[in-house]
């Protein structure tokens, strides 16, 4: 590995700044030494070959549109060109699942509301009490849009929901309920009371020690056994509970890190003021702790936004499940790669935006 030799760049002797700036750039960044030059040439060749064959498959030989429900043009180019025509053909099913076709403006609006809500929550100037009310109002509005049943909207039962709104619902409600749960458990883990501390430790270690798949199985198979006879709760809600419990355990660890970062003097000052346990935490400790952990909390949120896709395993129609179902159709079966690339793009946009945001927070929170 020649690369390792270059890690912290050795102090360069000041070269005379002459010549073409492009050549100078190439010289410092790609051809600083002979092994580096060889490496650059090899990488360029591999990159060019990859881009060329992908462009040939994905653009030059691709089929972009076909008449409705007719995949013959795609079959003709199979193996040499991509069939992007499957996206216009199936995008409504992939995005909204089996939600009634004529009513699909409602989940579409719900998705836009979610995005607006996330966007507003990232603005620091808006981090005030009103933001919490806004969240409650927006989530209520989204439920209204999804369920309907009043204000002239037809009722749509939960088992017909699907696609992107379900992914966003699972992730957002997981966060909205997992966060307070995480705060309680994190406080419990640092409590001086042995019974509360050991219960919190047990909860966190149990949830973090097992795969999410097993929690989802538990929600889908065992939950009905736990409930009194005749009490039936929806599969989506059961999965949601599992995801909240999962998010709570992971966020608890993140928040615990923040609590540890709050200086001892802050606790002592609060005690000296004679504040009660809850007032001390609410007014003094938690605001500081949470500020410390916003970047890692965003990272945790990215991780479990992706993990909501695991509900595929228990048959809930989130974005990944609708994508997988869309290609069961025999006419389009062979074009799953295109569908997966499309859905990967959607996940990527959400996660990439969040990770950029988390990085900008880390950069500005130097204080």
């Amino acid at each position: 590995m020649t690369a390792i030799a270059d890690i912290p760049e050795a102090p360069r002797t000041a070269r005379p700044q002459i010549g073409n700036p492009v050549l100078r750039w190439l010289r410092t960044n790609l051809f600083s030494s002979i092994p580096n030059g060889i490496l650059s040439v090899v990488l360029l060749a591999v990159l060019a070959k990859t881009i060329f064959s992908f462009a040939q498959w994905g653009i030059a030989n691709a089929v972009w549109l076909t008449p409705a429900n007719d995949s013959s043009a795609c079959r003709a180019v199979r193996g040499v060109g991509a069939c992007w025509a499957i996206i216009p053909e199936k995008y409504r099913f992939i995005l909204f699942g089996t939600y009634p076709f004529d009513e699909q403006w409602r989940p579409a609006l719900a998705v836009l509301l979610f995005i607006a809500l996330f966007y507003l929550s990232t603005r620091r100037a808006l981090w005030r009490r009103e933001l919490a009310y806004l969240w409650i109002a927006a989530l209520a509005l989204i439920s209204l849009l999804m369920w309907g049943g009043i204000l002239g909207l037809t009722f749509v039962s939960q088992d017909r929901w699907g696609g992107l709104p379900v992914t966003l619902i699972l992730a957002t409600f997981g966060l909205a309920f997992g966060f307070p749960l995480g705060i309680l458990v994190a406080l419990g883990r640092r409590s001086k009371l042995p019974a509360i501390r050991s219960l919190s430790v047990l909860y966190v270690e149990l949830i973090r020690g097992v795969p999410l798949v097993s929690l989802l199985f538990m929600a889908s198979v065992m939950f009905p056994l736990f409930m009194p006879n005749g009490f039936n709760i929806d599969k989506l809600l059961r999965a949601q509970v599992a995801i909240i419990l999962f998010a709570g355990a992971y966020l608890a660890e993140v928040i615990r890190g923040g609590l540890q970062a709050v200086a001892r003097g802050q606790y002592e000052a609060a005690d000296a003021l004679g504040l009660s346990y809850w007032r001390k935490n609410r007014l003094i400790v938690l605001p500081q702790a949470i500020r410390h952990v916003i970047p890692p909390a965003v990272n945790t949120f990215i991780a479990f936004f992706k993990d909501t896709s695991l509900v595929l395993i228990i048959g809930i129609f989130d974005l990944l499940t609708t994508a997988k179902t869309a290609i069961i159709d025999p006419a389009w079966q062979q074009f799953s790669v295109e569908v997966y690339i499309f859905v990967a793009g959607i996940y990527f946009v959400f996660c990439f935006a969040m990770s950029r945001y988390s990085r900008s927070l880390e950069a500005t929170s130097g204080r």
């Binding site: 020690g209 097992v210 795969p211 798949v213 990944l320 790669v337 990967a344």
Partner: protein, 395 residues
């Protein structure tokens, strides 16, 4: 205080030794434990009623029954007539087969990519950054399904790709040349392990001597002799046959060699590439955490690059790297449970089939959880031990 008179002792409260603080604490603990107990009792009684209504008997007696499920790809010998217990053991072995090999490969790939991100070569560092960003921001399950689809789209056995002689890639999976391991080969491997142990002891002694008089004593001649020479000598003396079994195409299928089934191969690729993106970031931050001054000092002493990396930079970087690496190893192991989505029969997949066949939901899920908790604790224990060995000893 102006008065010289001793302060009166604090008044004893009603509950004797207990102050108000303790009372409050007791109250909260009693409340929380009470709620927990009440919830568990409620769920328990419901479960018992439901189970008896559905005529499901609890207990692990079903483990002795004949499993009857086929397991296509297994490390241990298995037959559908074997018991559920043996099927679980086979599943655990399959989980470990993915996890252990996945951890090794992901560590290697992640380290290479993490170092590449720090390279002075602009192109290399950019490509590594794109790799990390892309793989981190797409759900693992989606990547897994993607790789599995690609595996199935490979040509049939007759038209298999042959990137190198003896290696076949087709929709039957990856077929590699193998070295059959029998008793004589195990003897040689045993000597190699013994050599490793002796080498470790010698190396420690050499370092201790160097500590005393400062004279460097190279350890590599011992290493060469014990790790290469000794096994080779045993191999020649016993006349151990080290034959390579080359796979070949007979009719419609492959014979001989080592076969990695498409499910296993897809799962391994997905886990390794996904986890390596996270490991790359950990390695990068670890190396960056070593202060510039350390490099400068080593340079000023005129040390060789390899010595500098091995003796100065890496030991310090490892302190930052090991704890988050532990969580990545745990994640990879837990994520291997996604195998159930593509039909590789790991312990979760086998438990799921068992659950569907017998209705023993509680037992099957309890077994999954017990297996993963054990594995997780094992990895944490080992990594914590390793971490405490390399941790900075202050004062």
């Amino acid at each position: 205080m102006t008065s010289d008179a001793p302060r009166p002792p604090p008044r004893r409260r009603f509950f004797g030794a207990f102050g108000q603080r303790e009372l409050k604490g007791l109250f909260w603990q009693a409340l929380v434990v009470g709620i927990a107990v009440a919830v568990i009792a409620f769920l328990w009684s419901n479960t018992v009623t439901n189970l008896s209504a559905r005529r499901i008997t609890t207990g692990f007696a079903f483990l002795g029954r004949e499993a009857g499920m086929p397991i296509a790809d297994s490390l241990l010998a298995y037959n559908p007539r074997d018991s559920y217990l043996w099927a679980f053991v086979v599943g655990i072995a399959n989980t470990l087969r993915v996890a252990v090999i996945g951890i090794v490969l992901a560590t290697i790939l992640g380290t290479v990519i993490g170092i590449s991100r720090l390279s002075a070569n602009w192109l290399l560092s950019r490509l590594a950054a794109v790799y990390v960003e892309t793989l981190r921001d797409i759900p693992l399950l989606l990547q897994l399904l993607f790789w599995y689809v690609l595996m199935q789209a490979l040509p049939a056995a007759r038209a298999a790709w042959r990137p190198i002689e003896g290696v076949f890639l087709s929709n039957r999976g990856l077929i590699l040349p193998a070295i059959p391991i029998g008793t004589p080969q195990l003897w040689v491997l045993g000597t190699a392990v013994l050599g490793l142990v002796v080498f470790y002891v010698i190396q420690r002694r050499l370092i201790a001597q160097q500590m005393r008089d400062g004279k460097p004593r190279p350890a590599w001649p011992f290493g060469l002799g014990l790790l290469v020479g000794l096994p080779a000598a045993v191999s020649v003396l016993l006349g151990v046959p080290w034959t390579i079994e080359w796979p070949g195409l007979r009719g419609f299928n492959f014979v001989g060699g080592l076969t990695l089934a498409p499910e296993y191969f897809a799962l391994l690729i997905a886990l390794v590439t996904y986890t390596s993106a996270f490991i790359a970031e950990i390695v990068r931050s670890g190396i960056q955490s070593v202060p510039r001054g350390q490099w400068d000092a080593a340079n000023a002493l005129g040390l060789r690059r390899s010595f500098m990396l091995r003796q100065i930079i890496l030991p310090q970087a490892l302190r930052v790297i090991v704890p988050p690496m532990t969580s990545q190893y745990l994640n990879l192991t837990k994520n291997s449970s996604l195998a159930v989505a593509i039909g590789y029969q790991d312990v979760v997949s086998i438990a799921n089939t068992t659950l569907n066949q017998t209705g023993q939901a509680i037992e099957a899920i309890a077994l999954i959880m017990a297996v993963f908790l054990t594995i997780s604790l094992g990895i944490s224990f080992f990594m914590n031990w390793y971490n405490s060995r390399i941790a900075l000893v202050e004062r």
